[in-house]
Symmetry: C2
Subunit: 211 residues, 2 copies
């Protein structure tokens, strides 16, 4: 974790386009990372980029994701440079010209090297932390994982070496050539919410901490 | 576009994990690509993977995305191998053990090489196609783009060489060790919808074809 609460950008993470929309401080980076569960892990095999969508979670300055022990992605990321990107679409921004159109979004690109965690106790603790992060209290009511199950899981950990957050919000920019042009302009927000739970068992559906 | 409507997987796109959830046919791949607008472009600079969230659109067997002409991402992708991944989170799947938890999702990994399109008429047509794809009929009511504006845009095109779709839906799998364990199990769907439009101008907010 950076000592002063800010990730120091190098050429890898420094925002070149619209730096006014960007931030490198932990609070901004973690706010985006903690708003989602589905991230995109970028890695390279023989020069070919791969982007695998995967569930992730954060603990302090580390990101975690997991998958099947036989996963190509997880076999490939041990020790490798990674870019884990998280993004949320928040709205459609409509100007009076094509050029003035945009999207509202929150995103983070996080860089580091992944390592696989093999220790079963560490795996158990991490998987419980993931469940707890999504569904507070739920690890206490679940059937505990067996060693055989934990062996089927590959668990990746990445210390965030650098990260940048980028956020766009609000309406279309005032754009002089468009003033008075007779077209509607504004924002249409995109909202994400939980639907009705469908299941059975004691206790009912848990509160999901993302929403 | 593949002659028989199916992308032929090589090692790059062949699904190794849970192939029963996967598909290589155009209909399955295009259904996911056409359900979203925010994709994740994976590319490599000096061995380092980058995953940039970006708006994309599809025309036939090609994917397009754009950005500022000064964008590092767009400068880096001309002629380069790309993995463009699109994913949608559809639900939380809760079993009676941690091992039986999952997410419902739809995703596509599309592979190809990008090329930048420089011709201004081609850029104009592509940008209009993007607006039309999101907001049918809207290019007709917008102030037309100027040459100066089009020169500020970099436009990337990628013929989809290979692609795989992966979808998980439904409830938790029946998992013998969990039978009778006293915890709730089921699905909590994630729903995406448009909020109330906020803007002004003749015609009102357009219908957004994604939702």
């Amino acid at each position: 974790m950076p000592a002063d609460g800010t990730f120091t950008p190098t050429a890898r993470s420094k925002l070149r386009r619209r730096p006014q929309r960007g931030a490198y401080d932990e609070a901004a980076v973690y706010a985006v990372l903690d708003a989602h569960v589905l991230g995109h892990v970028g890695y390279v095999i023989d020069g070919q980029p791969f982007v695998t969508p995967t569930a992730y979670w954060r603990e302090g300055g580390k990101l975690y994701w997991h998958g099947a022990a036989a996963s190509r992605m997880l076999a490939s990321v041990d020790g490798a440079p990674i870019c884990l990107t998280v993004s949320l679409l928040d709205g459609f921004v409509l100007g009076r010209s094509g050029f003035a159109h945009s999207l509202n979004y929150r995103s983070v690109m996080a860089f580091g090297r992944a390592r696989l965690i093999e220790d079963l106790d560490a795996k158990r603790a991490a998987m419980d932390a993931f469940i707890e992060r999504l569904y507070p209290g739920r690890p206490d009511v679940l059937r505990p994982a067996t060693a055989a199950e934990l062996k089927q899981i590959a668990l990746a950990e990445m210390t965030i070496e650098e990260a940048s957050a980028k956020v766009r919000e609000g309406g279309p920019a005032d754009y002089a050539p468009d003033v008075g042009w007779p077209a509607w302009a504004g924002v249409v927000p995109v909202e994400t919410r939980l639907g009705a739970a469908d299941g059975d068992g004691p206790g009912g559906p848990p509160k999901i901490s993302l929403y």
